[in-house]
């Protein structure tokens, strides 16, 4: 398909702008002006619409295909939440920061505040900041607060402990805050090796970052012990909320002993993923970390009005421009308001039911690295198929041809040929059955005719792409400008 730039015809006008109603001003001097106008596409509005409509059709999406991408919680995105968020589109964030400006933004501030309160109840934490713009941004914000906490106490800490099954963002976020990483391997029972954890847990550890249920879809039975042991060394325990969808109403990380948590609104709370963002990563903390929250903070006055608090001497400071990805926050809050208590509990119950159902129907054909009941996602290994030369990626391509977005493959890194399936609560049993049937068909084909996978997928606009060439040539910008 052509690029939009290849359809450009010099001189073709775009969308028309209002005519100027002021006199033309004296221009900028030559050294301050750009030499030539930026070479942007010159296409008609119809050509533009057709180009992007045709491009969109080259995507799988939740609205068009089952999308069981593990650890991403690709659930249905309710259309009503879009409408709800639209009501908040016209408001300028800077108005809230003008003198007495908060009184002109009471609706927006109320929404952000109430979202925070709802999240504290869901997670069992004491206070929430909505400022972080994505999950990884929340992790970094959380670990910055951990660092501020230790600095305030005069603690000398060097390390952050992560299990080897963790999301790559965990160690990357801790490293951005200047910590060295200690990685603890996974034991045969599928969770962080408790013995090894005890060995590495010293007074020099600042934080332990846990995902629970972990990226194998397993709930760690030793989680309280881990929290207690960390606290014995005055280390804080971080909860990666990527898998919160499994435990809504069942477990609250704050009750178990976690000190900091981020929540991915775009996963658990049903906001659309947008082809890779925007997400939103609010962070909840226990009391001892409240002074370090990023500012400005949204607070509720005794008279029920909302205000901004900027005088926060111990705050880590801003981690983002304003109050977070507000549009995403509004959608997530709309989702919570619609579902309510019972609806949110049902989310986790049905998500766990779906994942266990898929697991039970596939475990005879695919290897289960850790045999136990799973939570909201299950991780298989294609090692049995790989013996015939059919790898996880080949099975993924088989699924594409059958109209299913593949599960996450090759993650977690500790499972060879990993296939991580997260069906979510919003898919019907017929869809799950259809997916199961295709997965079974793939396993059978891998026995019967492994060579057949090499040319897949065949039904997409492109077949398998040469990633080595992309990395070598680094062609990341069209033409010369």
């Amino acid at each position: 398909m052509q690029l939009i730039y290849e359809q450009s015809i010099p001189g073709r006008p775009g969308v028309s702008l209002p005519a100027s109603d002021v006199p033309p001003a004296a221009g900028l001097s030559a050294e301050l002006r750009r030499a030539e106008a930026a070479v942007l596409p010159e296409v008609s509005e119809l050509d533009l619409v057709r180009h992007f409509t045709l491009l969109s059709r080259r995507n799988f999406s939740v609205d068009t295909n089952f999308y069981p991408l593990g650890s991403c919680t690709m659930k249905y995105n309710a259309k009503a939440i879009e409408e709800a968020a639209r009501a908040f589109v016209p408001y300028h964030p800077m108005v809230a920061l003008l003198p007495h400006g908060a009184s002109y933004c009471q609706g927006s501030l109320a929404l952000a505040y109430e979202l925070g309160r709802t999240l504290t109840e869901i997670t069992g934490m004491d206070e929430v900041t909505t400022q972080p713009l994505a999950g990884a941004h929340g992790e970094m914000t959380g670990i910055m607060m951990v660092a501020a906490y230790h600095r305030a106490k005069g603690n000398k800490k060097r390390y952050v402990v992560v299990p080897d099954s963790s999301h790559g963002t965990n160690p990357a976020s801790a490293a951005m805050v200047g910590y060295e990483i200690i990685t603890v391997p996974t034991a045969a029972y599928g969770d962080m090796d408790l013995e090894r954890f005890r060995e590495v847990m010293t007074d020099e550890v600042a934080a332990v970052m846990m995902t629970c249920p972990n990226t194998l879809g397993l709930f760690n039975p030793h989680i309280r012990e881990i929290c207690d042991l960390a606290h014995d060394h005055d280390a804080l325990v971080y909860y990666d909320g990527a898998n919160l969808n499994a435990i809504l109403g069942k477990v609250r990380p704050g009750d178990v002993g976690f000190d900091v948590i981020h929540v991915n609104l775009h996963k658990t709370f049903g906001t659309p993923h947008g082809g890779g963002g925007p997400g939103s990563g609010p962070v909840g903390v226990k009391k001892e970390l409240i002074p370090f929250l990023p500012g400005p903070r949204i607070v509720r006055n005794d008279d029920g009005s909302y205000a901004l608090e900027s005088a926060l001497p111990e705050s880590i400071g801003r981690t983002a421009g304003f109050f977070g990805n507000f549009g995403v926050m509004a959608k997530a809050y709309a989702y919570m308001v619609m579902l309510g208590r019972a609806g949110l509990i049902q989310v986790s119950e049905q998500a766990v039911l779906s994942a266990n159902y898929v697991m039970s129907r596939l475990k005879d054909l695919y290897e289960l690295p850790y045999e136990t009941s799973c939570m909201h996602e299950c991780v298989f290994s294609a090692v049995r198929q790989a013996k015939n030369g059919v790898h996880a990626i080949d099975i993924a391509k088989f699924l594409i041809d059958r109209g299913f977005h593949p599960p996450t493959v090759y993650f977690p890194l500790i499972v060879k040929e990993a296939i991580m399936i997260e069906p979510t609560e919003t898919e019907s049993k017929e869809t799950l059955d259809a997916f199961i049937a295709v997965m079974r068909e793939a396993a059978e084909l891998a026995e019967r005719d492994p060579a057949a996978f090499a040319t897949l997928p065949q039904s997409m606009p492109v077949s398998r792409l040469d990633e080595t060439k992309a990395a070598r040539e680094q062609n990341v910008c069209f033409g010369s400008w």
Partner: protein, 448 residues
């Protein structure tokens, strides 16, 4: 809500699924969670139908002041957004997809982001761009970290005329690292870069500047670029994308890295987010860029296609050795930026910038003629400018807010010695009539 929350499974199907699993109830599935670990509370309201929820949201939004005429910027700008932007980015296939890990079924997102990267290169005059970061402030912080990686040095110089929020984000990001950040206090009306140049020595990884700066001033940073390059460091320019329809590009000025907030490119105000952060650099630094990069390649039949490339820089492979922790970015907002730029086109985008410039110049002259009001910028400005009032600017702004006008950003909170100064922003959306009314209102406020 019955069968609450978009869960389609009927009780009969639930029974079948439980049978297949070999358990008798859903509670059995949660048995691995010991009773002592269970939630102590889950005290939330009952759910609502979408109709009740929407009414609640409309009522909440109505508590915001309606119809404020806005002359505030501060990093976020009230610009026109062509209708086509909402319609096309609203396509469910873009909207409800995720990160394009499987390129064959994600060519739509991948090609669009490749086109976006191209647009950012052309706007900034630099060689390579990534597929977006979170926002302008975090992009500046990422650029600072990138400069440290590229040079292996531990000192940064930042101009005090960079957006104060963005400077704060940079400080936050650097707070736990062994890095020295030297802030050069700005002097309004003296926008030469002599103080910045004086701070350069062989230990400085980069000088971070903003163009136009927080006061609206447009500067020529070529000499600064030459001197930091001679000292072996980099020039990072934070830019306001709409200005690039008119103003010399970071590339032309000699910048090594350009960043900016993409909100002004087709993203609504939305109370501060989501927008996107743009970042572009010279080609030789591509392996030090943070975040996702889309690259062109071919498939097995030689057909052109696009993939996530150079992933070995990223956290899901490199973990703590990654160039950044970023995973989700602001892909859909970047798509809005691309469609915005494509809908205006080459000429239209230049016209948009010119319109902003002309309107702001008109307002600047009119305000400058008021008795006791002084325009503080020493030279050229783009779409915002700073005036000094004969009164405390915060009081004036508070008074005008009551009349339905957001008059600008008073500087006292950010620069203690500039309490009488006000940054006024004028975009193409402000009519001459609104500007004239605003000038009279400000004049009235100064007489009281």
């Amino acid at each position: 809500m019955s069968r609450a929350g978009y869960c389609p499974t009927t009780p009969e199907e639930e029974r079948q699924m439980l049978d297949a699993i070999g358990v008798t109830s859903i509670d059995d599935l949660f048995r691995p969670i010991a009773p002592g670990l269970r939630a102590k509370s889950f005290d939330l309201p009952d759910g609502m139908s979408e109709f009740e929820m929407l009414r609640t949201f409309q009522e909440l939004a109505a508590k915001n002041a309606q119809h404020l005429v806005t002359f505030v910027g501060g990093g976020y700008y009230d610009h026109l957004i062509p209708t086509v932007v909402d319609h096309l980015t609203g396509r469910a296939e873009f909207y409800t997809a995720y990160t394009p890990y499987q390129p064959e079924c994600a060519q739509g997102t991948l090609q669009a982001l490749f086109e976006y990267q191209t647009a950012i290169c052309r706007l900034t005059g630099l060689d390579v761009a990534n597929a977006s970061l979170y926002d302008g402030g975090t992009a500046l912080a990422e650029a600072a970290l990138m400069a440290l990686r590229v040079t292996g040095r531990r000192r940064l110089v930042i101009d005090g005329a960079v957006n104060p929020f963005h400077r704060e984000i940079v400080r936050t990001y650097l707070a736990n690292l062994d890095v020295e950040l030297l802030e050069i206090p700005p002097k309004l009306g003296l926008e030469d870069d002599a103080r910045l140049r004086a701070a350069i020595d062989g230990s400085v990884a980069a000088v971070l500047v903003q163009n136009p700066n927080f006061f609206g001033s447009v500067s020529d940073f070529r000499r600064l670029a030459d001197e930091i390059h001679a000292a072996g460091g980099l020039l990072v320019v934070s830019t306001y994308p709409v200005s690039l329809g008119l103003v010399a590009t970071p590339g032309e000025m000699g910048a090594d890295i350009a960043v900016g907030d993409g909100q002004s490119l087709g993203n609504p105000l939305s109370f501060g987010g989501p927008s996107f952060g743009l970042i572009a650099s010279r080609k030789e630094f591509i392996r030090n860029l943070p975040g996702r990069i889309i690259g062109e390649t071919v498939d097995r039949h030689g057909e052109r296609g696009f993939v996530l490339t150079l992933q070995a820089r990223e956290q899901h492979i490199k973990r703590h050795k990654a160039t950044s922790n970023i995973c989700s970015n602001q892909s859909l907002c970047a798509l809005r930026g691309l469609i915005f730029l494509s809908s205006l086109g080459r000429q239209g985008f230049a016209e948009l910038a010119r319109l902003n410039y002309d309107k702001a110049e008109y307002a600047k002259q009119a305000l400058g003629r008021l008795s006791g009001v002084e325009v503080m910028n020493g030279g050229a400005t783009f779409n915002e400018f700073t005036v000094c009032l004969p009164k405390d600017a915060a009081e004036v702004v508070a008074g005008l807010l009551r009349k339905g006008v957001a008059a600008g950003v008073p500087l006292g909170s950010y620069y203690p010695d500039m309490g009488h100064c006000l940054v006024v922003t004028v975009t193409e959306k402000r009519t001459r009539e609104e500007i004239d009314t605003f000038v009279r209102q400000l004049e009235g406020a100064l007489c009281n």
